[in-house]
Symmetry: C2
Subunit: 195 residues, 2 copies
Amino acid sequence: MRICFVGDSMMNGTGDLEYLGWVGRVLRDERRRRPELTGYNLGIRRDTSGQILARWYDEVTRRLPVEIEGRVVFSFGVNDAAQEVNPVQSLTHAEAILSDATARWPAFMVGLVPIVPDDTRERSRKLDAAFAELCMRLGVPYLSVFDGLMETSTWLDEARAGDGAHPGAGGYARLAELVLASAAWRGWMDNARAP
Amino acid sequence: MRICFVGDSMMNGTGDLEYLGWVGRVLRDERRRRPELTGYNLGIRRDTSGQILARWYDEVTRRLPVEIEGRVVFSFGVNDAAQEVNPVQSLTHAEAILSDATARWPAFMVGLVPIVPDDTRERSRKLDAAFAELCMRLGVPYLSVFDGLMETSTWLDEARAGDGAHPGAGGYARLAELVLASAAWRGWMDNARAP
């Protein structure tokens, strides 16, 4: 199985001195069950939903040959919140991306993460809820991690102590735990592709 | 600084259960000196020089905004050797890639790695020597790692014990050591971009 992880700096793992991010930690864990699992991290710093719409298909298609089971995990939206993209536009972009993706590969979406400034964090929280609704309508499993990351102060503390936006190894480890412990992720990973 | 690592499965780190590969290990080490360093791993399994020629520019341009120091590291050629691409063609592709890259960003190339079958390994060794000459002519620093990886049996032993092609954590750790210990890499990383 090969999985493309398409998103922004939080997908890239920016700020994690261990160079794993949450994606690396999730892959490391999953590979204990599937040693042949290949991951492609396609997170790009500052990418908004519009930039992801423009590139995701080309980049994913190159990495997922038809003869091998391929999957796509998305996580974006915090740059839309930070750059005050109109939420209607973010939703339009997300729907275009996800409806195309799920027609071709099993797709999964991880929700938006908390951001340090209060106003951006509030927009991020609202967009997370809107993306969750959209994904339910499209039949794409969606994992909201916002509240889980706010349960402890690790994520925001590390972001404040770092570059002001990105957590360190502790925050990413917590996010990986939330993903790995969720029924949504476990069910998606264990589900074989429909023929 | 942001560095794109463009290449094949050996760049991706395929086979490493720790999900670091040599790129992850090199970044982890470099980040101790530059905590702000961002890495983009653009290794794709089975990519030949021709496939890399077709995609590298788009993928790198999206990840290296002009206002931030960007660099590109290449490593490819083993799939050319495995698929018996005419070496003249491999060299034409490599020259097109590297001359464009070095005109825009500081570029570095890591040479071909040993492959299990004797005939492929011999073609890989020859292409490594030809790429080294090409890079000298183009003024792109080139690090040959072939002999260094053949000094111990780790690389090929792990490849045989794994999927037949890719090493495990030991082989990738050894390759990362060769890169980090080389004067070519150290000089390239410590050299500021010309204005």
